[in-house]
Symmetry: C2
């Protein structure tokens, strides 16, 4: 049995949607950032990093979105969520997810989590001011060359799609106008129409 720990609005949404798309049997547990629940002793015993998502499996706990998404794709091969047997195509998928994780998510995190990398309030404000620029630049690269369309990898829906969908949802709050990114906007609309996405969003916002 699989159990996903998540906080609404975070990158855990990508893994949540992927589990649903895979047809997996899973349960979820919602943590509350407001009470700093991700740093509670109970949760640190699950994930010493004190972050979400964490996916508890029969073999142990997994963290880091690209790894969880790869695990879901490989564990539910009938859902065809990744080109598992094609080393180049699979690496392209992992490269896309790695970019989201190490460049796009990191750019966004400088808005509210500057204390991870600096100590002064003035630095936090400086970082926060730059987020619209770095998020726009990251998504310009996605729009120009990385999103093949209609899905990230082309004609086939993969685990890249819920991850891109999740980070696209942050753009408005980061002062990036989605209408300047027509391919990303089209992707976001298509994603919003999928039953699995609607079901998961309904649960996370309930």
């Amino acid at each position: 049995m699989l159990k996903l720990y998540y906080v609404p609005g975070t990158c855990a949404l990508a893994s949540h949607i992927a589990l649903q798309e895979a047809g997996a049997s899973y349960t979820t547990e919602r943590l509350d950032f407001k009470t700093n629940q991700q740093q509670s002793p109970q949760y640190l015993a699950v994930n010493p990093k004190g972050r979400v998502p964490a996916l508890v499996t029969d073999h142990g706990t997994l963290t880091e979105t690209p790894a969880i998404l790869g695990f879901i794709a490989q564990s539910f091969p009938l859902a065809k969520l990744a080109p598992l047997e094609d080393p180049f195509a699979l690496a392209q998928l992992q490269s896309f997810n790695s970019y989201l994780c190490s460049t796009v998510h990191i750019a966004h995190a400088h808005k509210g989590r500057g204390y991870r990398w600096a100590s002064d309030e003035a630095s936090f404000a400086d970082m926060k001011r730059k987020v619209p620029e770095t998020m726009a630049a990251s998504f310009a690269l996605i729009e120009r060359g990385m999103l093949k369309g209609p899905w990230v990898m082309g004609e086939t829906y993969t685990v890249c799609d819920p991850y891109l969908f999740t980070l696209t949802r942050w753009l408005a709050g980061d002062s990036v106008d989605l209408s300047t990114l027509p391919k990303v906007a089209d992707h976001h609309r298509r994603m919003s129409e999928r039953p699995a996405v609607q079901k998961v969003l309904a649960e996370e916002t309930a």
Copy 2:
């Protein structure tokens, strides 16, 4: 044929060592940060991100270290550089590499690349001051729970090992004392003794 673009001292070393360990046929091209060669029109045509590493393959170009390492492991299965058929173990490997890429490398990058996330000199100085603390915290987590020993994944050498080795080499410059991390230090010593590592380092420093 495979061709790796690299800059000495960067995370591209991980992919370089992995190619050598895999017994791959490959060539390399060294870029020079001093002349900003990674932002030249010629290189941007190879990798629009303007970063290293980039691995040119017969099918196209790959970027992002975790993806390149996964590609090498899957393309040269006889080298047994990843538990390809075990979804949980493979996800653990990807999780480790994802942590290095999105947490450890990012922590380090705030020393010299603060301009990516802020604009003021005072912020860059503030970020730089915090690097010893964030790098020490990242490596403490690796030492305590992530590095199984003797290799990252336990008894078997994988593509996690050259990646950890590469980032461990940054610790001295980031004012983290390797002797406070006995498991990481032992890993570093074992890696330094491997013929593939010695060959690649000799090439990169020639």
